[in-house]
C-alpha cells in the first residue's frame, strides 16, 4: 500500500447520506456540537438504494478522494428493503473496484441511524484519516476535471 507523506494534503470526501437516517444523524452530530472534518461533503439521497454505481464513479471523476455511503441500518429502511439491495450492489461494486486495482479503502458503506450523531462524527473522522493516508486519488481520476 502506498502511503502519502504529504502532510498538507486535504482529501475531498463525498458522503451519500440517506434522507431518513444518516442525514438526520449528521444533523444530530451538528446539534450536539460534535466535530467532523470539513473535508466531508454530504449529498442527500432519498434512500441509500438511490445511489447508482455511476454516482460513485462520477464522484471520483470530479475529484473526490474517498466516497462513503451511509444509510439506515439493515431492517430499518424507510422503504422496507432499499438498503438490502444497496448492500449487495455496493459489495459487488467495491469488489470490482478492488479487482481493477483501485485502493479498497477509498470506498465504504456505513449504517448510521438518526440517533447516532456520535457514530456519524466518529465514522467521518476515521474515514477522512484513512483516505488522508492513501493520498490523492490517482487511479480513478479524470485529468480534465483536475483543479488547476
Amino acid at each position: 500500500m502506498q502511503v502519502n507523506d504529504n502532510k498538507d494534503f486535504q482529501p475531498l470526501i463525498v458522503a451519500f447520506c440517506c434522507n431518513w437516517c444518516s442525514y438526520a444523524g449528521a444533523d444530530l452530530s451538528g446539534t450536539n456540537r460534535l466535530n467532523y472534518p470539513t473535508n466531508v461533503k454530504i449529498i442527500r439521497v432519498p434512500c441509500s438504494c438511490r445511489v447508482n454505481p455511476m454516482f460513485i464513479l462520477r464522484a471520483f471523476q470530479r475529484g473526490a478522494d474517498g466516497v462513503i455511503l451511509c444509510g439506515c441500518h439493515p431492517g430499518d429502511c424507510h422503504y422496507t428493503s432499499g438498503n438490502y439491495f444497496t448492500r449487495r450492489r455496493m459489495t459487488l461494486l467495491f469488489s470490482m473496484l478492488d479487482f481493477l486495482g483501485i485502493e479498497r479503502d477509498r470506498t465504504r458503506v456505513e449504517w448510521v441511524s438518526a440517533a447516532e450523531g456520535a457514530k456519524f462524527a466518529a465514522t467521518m473522522n476515521e474515514f477522512t484519516e484513512a483516505v488522508k493516508k492513501l493520498g490523492p486519488n490517482r487511479r480513478l481520476e479524470d485529468l480534465r476535471c483536475r483543479k488547476q
Partner: protein, 323 residues
C-alpha cells in the same frame, strides 16, 4: 451437420411450422460468419453456413425477430440457450414465436489465433483428428486444432441445452470448467499489479461498443451510454477514467444476468479479455450469495433483485485477498 440443419430448416419451412430461419451466412472471408435471416429453401441452399467458425450467438437477434409476425426457427448452441432462457425470463423475447432447434456446441475456432501463427489468406479449414488443415491462397497449412479455439470455448461451462423444441445430436452435460482460474490469478496479484494489468488492457479500448451491442444480456432500448445528457455518451475515451468507467458500468449492468457466453471478448477488435470482468461478478455472486447460473431456468430471482437479511456487509471486500 450443415446438411442436416439445412434439411431440418427446409422441412420446417415446408410444413409451415416456421416462417423464417435465423442462422448464419458467409461474410467477406471464410472466417467471418455472420448471423442472417432466411425465408426460402433456395436461400438456405445457397447461403446457409454452419462450420467451425460459426461462433456468433443469435439469441440477441431474437429480441427483435420474435416480435415480428410469424414464427422463426433458431439454431442454438448450448451456450446460446442460456442466453435465450435469460431473455425469456426477462420477457425480452416472445417464446411462442421461436422454434428452437438445439445443435451441438463448439469448440469453435478463432481466426486471430490462426493468423497469429503467420497463416494468412484463409480459404477454409478442415478438422482431421484434431489437426487443423487450413486451406489458404498460398497452399495448405496445418496446426493443432486446440491451439486455434476461441478462449470462450477453452473454458466451456456447459454442453447442455437448457431450452429447446427439438435437438439435432445428443443432449450434453454441464461441464466442470476451470473458467475462474484467470480471475483467481488476478485476485492473487497486488493492487498495483492488477491496476497495471487492467490499464494495459483497458487503455486499448476504442469505445466501438461492440461488446455492448453483441451482449445478449444488454438489451435496454435506451442505453445509459446513448444518453447525450449523461456526459458518458458514445465517444472515444479521452481519459483513462472513461475507459474504466465504461467497462465497470457495462459489466455491472449485466451482473447477475450475464450467462458467461463470452461474446464480449470474442467480438472485441482490441482483444480485451472483457469476460474476466463479468466472471469476477459471477464468482463474487457465487461465493457471497450462493451458486447461481443465469439462464439456467426461467423462474429464479436474479441475485441483484434479491436479498437476504443476513447478507455479508460490503466491508467483506476490505477483509479478504491481497492488497
Amino acid at each position: 451437420m450443415q446438411e442436416a440443419m439445412i434439411n431440418k430448416a427446409k422441412q420446417l419451412l415446408a410444413d409451415g411450422t416456421v416462417d423464417r430461419v435465423i442462422g448464419w451466412k458467409r461474410g467477406e472471408f471464410a472466417y467471418d460468419i455472420t448471423p442472417a435471416v432466411f425465408e426460402t429453401a433456395e436461400e438456405l441452399e445457397k447461403e446457409f453456413v454452419f462450420d467451425d467458425f460459426t461462433a456468433a450467438n443469435v439469441s440477441k437477434y431474437l429480441v427483435k425477430e420474435s416480435k415480428k409476425e410469424g414464427r422463426i426457427l433458431a439454431f442454438l448452441k448450448p451456450c446460446d440457450t442460456y442466453s435465450f432462457n435469460q431473455l425469456t425470463k426477462e420477457h425480452r423475447v416472445v417464446r411462442e414465436n421461436v422454434y428452437i432447434v438445439g445443435i451441438p456446441g463448439g469448440p469453435k475456432l478463432d481466426a486471430e489465433k490462426i493468423k497469429a501463427k503467420g497463416i494468412t489468406g484463409i480459404l477454409g479449414v478442415k478438422n482431421e483428428n484434431y489437426t487443423l488443415k487450413i486451406d489458404t491462397v498460398y497452399g495448405e497449412e496445418t496446426m493443432p486444432f486446440y491451439e486455434a479455439i476461441l478462449d470462450k470455448c477453452a473454458t466451456c461451462k456447459s454442453k447442455k441445452h437448457v431450452v429447446y423444441d427439438e435437438l439435432i445430436g445428443d443432449e450434453g452435460e454441464v461441464l466442470d470448467s476451470n473458467r475462474f482460474d484467470m480471475v483467481e490469478k488476478l485476485e492473487n496479484m497486488t493492487a498495483q499489479e492488477r491496476y497495471d494489468f487492467w490499464r494495459g488492457e483497458l487503455s486499448k479500448c476504442i469505445r466501438c461498443n461492440a461488446c455492448r451491442n453483441v451482449c445478449p444480456a444488454c438489451t435496454c432500448e435506451k442505453c445509459v451510454f446513448d444518453n447525450p445528457n449523461s456526459g458518458v455518451e458514445n465517444k472515444a475515451p479521452a481519459d483513462s477514467f472513461e475507459e474504466n468507467m465504461f467497462h465497470i458500468i457495462r459489466a455491472f449492468h449485466v451482473a447477475g444476468r450475464c450467462t458467461d457466453c463470452g461474446e464480449c471478448s470474442r467480438v472485441c477488435p482490441q482483444h480485451i479479455p472483457l469476460h474476466l470482468l463479468n466472471r469476477k461478478f459471477i464468482k463474487d455472486i457465487n461465493s457471497l450469495y450462493g451458486e447461481y447460473q443465469a439462464g439456467e431456468d426461467t423462474t429464479s430471482r436474479a441475485p441483484l433483485n434479491d436479498y437476504k437479511q443476513d447478507d455479508c456487509e460490503a466491508s467483506v471486500v476490505h477483509e479478504r485477498g491481497v492488497e
